[in-house]
Each structure stands twice: as structure tokens, then as C-alpha cells.
């Protein structure tokens, strides 16, 4: 009897974890998003470099499309990445290289690579859709000074991932994630902190993301500027032709 109770309790906790993540995604939904990102890349030797990109997204979790285009420094200006997210599988990604005047598909097995020298990998730029992972409640913990749920997600087979599991901390008061830890085997390889959490146009947003690559001992800070939600964005801006046109 106690075995069944334990199983039921585990099932209930798993359900809770999934519900919390679903609720978190539901609460922070927006039909579109646009911002200008400032990326500061800090190498292990302390030197830093700065890159800027413009980011646009249309659609919601799992079915969204995003376009990211570098606007500085000069050597990467015009380089762009188109991400088409799917609910049932990993995203499709294409890179536009203006020097070559060509687009290039980013293969699934290459998504663990660092994105343009930053500490984000290509995979980190995808959305993490609820349907592609299993969730487990690990407990409650204080993170970034806030009471949080600590939840573990493991990718289902439909989603190929470099990470064996991801542990996330979600604020209990506003259902907003504040920290992610990404694991390869039993080792934390990347840690992402969400900082400067504020409401923009009624949507809770982190205006600063801090990604640490613990193997390389580098970190990248992404600051979002000119953030806007629910701006009029057309679907046709998120195609390969739009990538080529430089939308």
C-alpha cells in the first residue's frame, strides 16, 4: 500500500513540475517579441569582446520562429540565424553568411558548438518546449534571492540534445525562471542566470542573461535593449528568402 502511495506521490510531483513549467510558459506568452541584444563575451583570460544583434520572434512556445541578425562589430555585421521551432522535434536552423552570399543549414549534431564565439551554443538559442521533455520536482530552494521551485527536465527521445538533463529554478511568486543548469552526464557544463527581471508591456522579462561555460571557464552577458512585445511582425519575415534579403 505504501509503495502505491509513494508511486502516486511521485506521479503527482511529476505532474506538478510539468504544470509549473506549463504555467510559467503560459504566463509569459506573447505573440511576438523584438529586442536589441548586447553581448559581452568574457574569455577565461579576462579579455572581453562585444557583439550586438537584433532579435525578432513571432509565435508562441514550440511553434515560434526567430531571426537573429548581428549588427556589430563589422566583421560579423549582417550574419544572421533563422530558427524555426517545432513542438514535436528539435528546431531547424539556418545561418546566413553575407561574405559568401549563402545560407547554410546548421545540422543537429553541430548544435552543441558555441554560437559565434559566445558561450551560448546553437541549441541554447532554441526554445525548450514542454512537450519535448519530462519533468521532475527536485524541491524548493532560494535562487537569486527568491523562493523557487527546483525542477529537472530530461529530453524525450524526440528531441536530440547535447544535455542529458537541465535543472531549472522557477520563481514561485511570478512563475519566472531565474536559473538553468545544463548537465552532460553528471557534470554541470553551462549555467544560465536570468537577471534584472522586470515587467515590460505586462510581460515579465529578464533584461540580462548571464551564461557561464564551466568547461571553458568563460561567460557571456546578454543585455536586452529596446525590448518590445506584441509588435506587428509578419510571418514572411521568417523564411529563407527573408534571411537572404536581410530583413
Amino acid at each position: 500500500m505504501s509503495k502505491y502511495a509513494l508511486l502516486l506521490a511521485v506521479a503527482a510531483m511529476a505532474q506538478d513540475a510539468r504544470q509549473i513549467v506549463e504555467e510559467s510558459q503560459k504566463r509569459h506568452r506573447s505573440n511576438s517579441q523584438r529586442y536589441e541584444g548586447v553581448l559581452q563575451v568574457f574569455n577565461p583570460n579576462g579579455k572581453n569582446s562585444e557583439k550586438r544583434w537584433q532579435f525578432s520572434r513571432v509565435g508562441n512556445y514550440g511553434e515560434s520562429k526567430a531571426l537573429l541578425r548581428f549588427i556589430a562589430p563589422p566583421e560579423v555585421k549582417g550574419v544572421a540565424l533563422l530558427i524555426v521551432n517545432h513542438t514535436d522535434r528539435a528546431s531547424d536552423q539556418w545561418m546566413w553568411l553575407p561574405e559568401l552570399q549563402r545560407d547554410r543549414r546548421v545540422a543537429l549534431q553541430d548544435r552543441s558548438t558555441r554560437f559565434f564565439g559566445t558561450d551560448f551554443s546553437y541549441e541554447d538559442l532554441e526554445e525548450r518546449d514542454v512537450e519535448q521533455s519530462d519533468f521532475k520536482m527536485l524541491g524548493e530552494e532560494t535562487a537569486e534571492g527568491q523562493a523557487c521551485w527546483k525542477i529537472e527536465s530530461t529530453p524525450r527521445k524526440t528531441r536530440a540534445s547535447q544535455y542529458g538533463r537541465v535543472v531549472m529554478w522557477i520563481r514561485k511568486d511570478i512563475y519566472f525562471p531565474v536559473r538553468y543548469e545544463m548537465y552532460v552526464k553528471d557534470q554541470v557544463v553551462r549555467r544560465l542566470h536570468y537577471r534584472k527581471i522586470e515587467k515590460t508591456q505586462g510581460v515579465w522579462s529578464a533584461l540580462e542573461l548571464n551564461m557561464e561555460d564551466l568547461r571553458r571557464k568563460g561567460r557571456t552577458v546578454l543585455k536586452t535593449e529596446k525590448l518590445q512585445y506584441n509588435v506587428p511582425v509578419k510571418e514572411e519575415m521568417f523564411t529563407l528568402q527573408a534571411l537572404r534579403r536581410g530583413e
Binding site: N43, K77, Q101, R105, Q109, S112, G117, G218, L240, R245
Partner: protein, 398 residues
């Protein structure tokens, strides 16, 4: 007034460009070229003006000078870029793009790339190159109208090129043209016979769930020349380039597999010209990224169906029947290291290039490369064995 209008137009435009100053050092002289050091400078300025949400203009201009008389000294804007020498000032791109829904139309001088592979692109028929330096070459824009219709996973591209742009071939009196040592007559370079008429092509591209594929057709002239000659009085021969007719049927595909991505590209070329070949070019390559390394390696092959050509300049075929590879390492956000190689399957020619790039500051970048070429005189790569070189370059980007 005109300048005022120009500056007010570009004031709100997207702009980018660079100034690149480069020194090329050749340890060996060549029979037709005793120069060992070449200095050259390039200013490239690109501008994009969005006139309405659906209409934009792209422009790019190159201004160059060099110490080796490979570039013209005349101060004029060459909008065609079809001369024997590289123009001092050339219009690299000037096109108008309009789009509505699934349809994009671009007209003017532009770049059109159809290939999917990285080491050789038989499908790139609208992509002539400037081969003044055969190893370090650059694409030339073409004057064309391009209509693209994208519907779901399908894209259809239709291209009309009313004015032919040939690839620029190396200059006869410089090291990238290797003439036989025992020539009994003087050779001079005549004006190229550039064909008139329209080049046209169509491509269908499909993005599948786990693959991509494309089929392409081209009707027009080869942008790489057959070399003909005519006898002049006094034991002199004038060589000139002419561009044979060409019809191409081609296809390309890319399939990401669990360990690497396989890419293939192949085309059958047929001609009605009695001095040019019918042949097939193909390339199969594997690519993989491991941590900060990217590897591309494969084989470029050729099958000649009917051989008729006596003398030509065809780097695409010259690179065929070879194993080709590229490896690059992103050391960090500011430094990259890259290696490229091609080795002919019969061992008659080989080429290895290594390049190091470092971002010095937000605007400044330094580049150093070493290219080693080895092989036999009768091989396309091997003939350039005295042209191994090192390049030091400094670039200011804006």
C-alpha cells in the same frame, strides 16, 4: 546638389565595409614574373536603403590599387567589371529588391549562389569569379533579374542574365599564367570575345524534414573560358578568351546524419561548341563540427564525356579529381585558425593553405596566411608550384 541628394539618401541607410591592406610575399620568382612582393589595398563599401517595407536598394562599390599593375589606374566607375585587369573602381553590387508575400524579385547587379557544397559548386553558373590570383579569388556580381517564389518547403528561382559577366582570368605577363618554357614565338593577350545574348536558369529547392535537395538548369555560356589564339605577323601569337555555350542539368542535396552531414552536388554540362567538352562534375563531402573545430572533407570528381578542348582556364575542373578538405578552429571570440587543402588523386598536384585571423579591436583585424603549392608542370595545381606565398593583411572594418 546631386551629392547632397546622395548623402541625404544614405544617411539613414545600413552601411558596412572595410579597408584591407595586404602584402603578398612570393619566395620564388616565376618565368613570366620576377616580382616577389605585391602590395594591394581594397576599400569595400556596402549600403542598403529600405525605401518602403517591401522595396530596398543594395549597393556596393570596390576601390582598389596595387603595386603590380594588376589593377587599372584609370579613375572611372566600371559598372560591368568585364575588363582584363581589375578596375580601380568597380560597382560590385547595385540591385533593387521587391517582395510581396512569397514572391521576391531582384533586378540589377547582384550575387546568385545556387550550390550547396563548400569545396566545389558545379551549380554556381551565375557566380563568376576574379581569378587574378587563382587561389585567393573573389566572386563577381552579375547583371540579372531574379524571381523567387517560396511556398512552404519549396522554393523556385528563375534567373535571366541579359548581359554576360565572365570570370576574370590571370594576366598573361604575371605568375598565375604558366607558359611552356620552350616557346618559339611571342605571345600577347588579346581582348576577350564576350558573347551577347541572354543566359537563363531555373532552380527548384526543397527543404525536407531530414534533408534538403535542389535541381537546377542553366542555358547560356560558361563563365570560364576556352583559350584560342591567332597568328600575327612576325612569329607572334595573340591569345584570347572565348566563352563556349553551355547547357547544365544539375542537382544537389544535403542530409544530416547522426555523425556528420553529407552533401553532394553534381552537374552535367553539354555544349554545342566544337572547341569545348561535354562533361560531368560532382562533389561529395562530409562535414562535422566538434567543439570549436569545423571539418569539411570530400572528393571532387570529373567525368569527361566528349573531349574537344585544346586549351582552357577552368579552375573548377582543375580542382576536380582531387581530395579536398578544410578545418577551422574558433580559438575564441577574437581568433580563428583555418586550414584548406586539395590533393590530386594521382598525386600530381597539391595545395595547402593555413590562415590565422585575430581581431585586434572593435574595428581592426590582422590576418596572416601561408599557401604552399606543389606538383608537376602538367597538372592544374602543380603548374603553380613556384607560386607558394605568404600574405600579411590588416583590415579596418566599419
Amino acid at each position: 546638389m546631386r551629392w547632397l541628394l546622395f548623402f541625404s539618401l544614405i544617411a539613414h541607410a545600413e552601411q558596412r565595409g572595410f579597408v584591407d591592406v595586404r602584402t603578398t610575399l612570393f619566395p620564388q620568382t616565376a618565368p613570366s614574373d620576377s616580382g616577389r612582393v605585391i602590395g594591394d589595398a581594397l576599400l569595400r563599401y556596402e549600403v542598403r536603403q529600405r525605401l518602403t517595407p517591401w522595396l530596398k536598394v543594395d549597393g556596393a562599390i570596390d576601390a582598389r590599387t596595387d603595386s603590380h599593375r594588376q589593377y587599372e589606374r584609370e579613375f572611372r566607375i566600371d559598372w560591368q567589371d568585364r575588363g582584363v585587369q581589375r578596375p580601380a573602381i568597380s560597382l560590385r553590387r547595385f540591385s533593387v529588391t521587391a517582395h510581396k508575400g512569397r514572391v521576391t524579385f531582384e533586378a540589377g547587379r547582384q550575387f546568385i549562389r545556387w550550390g550547396k557544397a563548400d569545396i566545389l559548386n558545379p551549380l554556381d553558373r551565375f557566380a563568376p569569379r576574379d581569378f587574378l590570383n587563382v587561389i585567393d579569388n573573389d566572386f563577381l556580381g552579375v547583371l540579372a533579374a531574379r524571381l523567387t517564389v517560396e511556398k512552404g518547403a519549396h522554393t523556385v528561382d528563375l534567373v535571366l542574365q541579359p548581359r554576360f559577366t565572365p570570370s576574370r582570368t590571370p594576366l598573361l605577363n604575371q605568375r598565375w599564367v604558366v607558359l611552356p618554357r620552350d616557346l618559339k614565338f611571342a605571345v600577347s593577350q588579346g581582348a576577350a570575345r564576350i558573347p551577347g545574348g541572354v543566359q537563363s536558369g531555373a532552380r527548384w529547392n526543397y527543404l525536407g524534414r531530414g534533408f534538403e535537395m535542389a535541381l537546377a538548369f542553366y542555358e547560356g555560356h560558361n563563365h570560364l573560358p576556352v583559350v584560342d589564339g591567332r597568328l600575327l605577323p612576325g612569329l607572334r601569337v595573340e591569345l584570347f578568351n572565348r566563352f563556349p555555350t553551355m547547357r547544365m542539368y544539375g542537382g544537389a542535396g544535403a542530409v544530416p546524419l547522426p555523425w556528420f552531414t553529407v552533401k553532394g552536388e553534381s552537374a552535367f554540362f553539354k555544349t554545342s561548341d566544337r572547341g569545348a567538352d561535354d562533361y560531368v562534375l560532382y562533389v561529395v563531402q562530409l562535414e562535422r563540427t566538434v567543439k570549436e573545430w569545423t571539418f569539411v572533407g570530400g572528393y571532387a570528381g570529373e567525368h569527361v564525356i566528349e573531349r574537344r578542348v585544346q586549351l582552357d582556364f577552368a579552375p573548377d575542373r582543375g580542382l576536380a579529381r582531387a581530395f579536398v578538405g578544410r578545418a577551422s578552429l574558433a580559438v575564441d571570440a577574437a581568433r580563428t585558425l583555418a586550414f584548406e587543402t586539395a590533393v590530386r588523386q594521382n598525386g600530381a598536384g597539391a595545395w595547402l593553405k593555413s590562415e590565422y585571423t585575430q581581431q585586434l579591436s572593435k574595428h581592426w583585424q590582422a590576418r596572416a596566411s601561408i599557401t604552399v603549392i606543389r606538383g608537376k608542370q602538367d597538372d592544374f595545381l602543380g603548374q603553380y608550384r613556384r607560386n607558394s606565398h605568404a600574405i600579411l593583411a590588416l583590415r579596418y572594418g566599419f
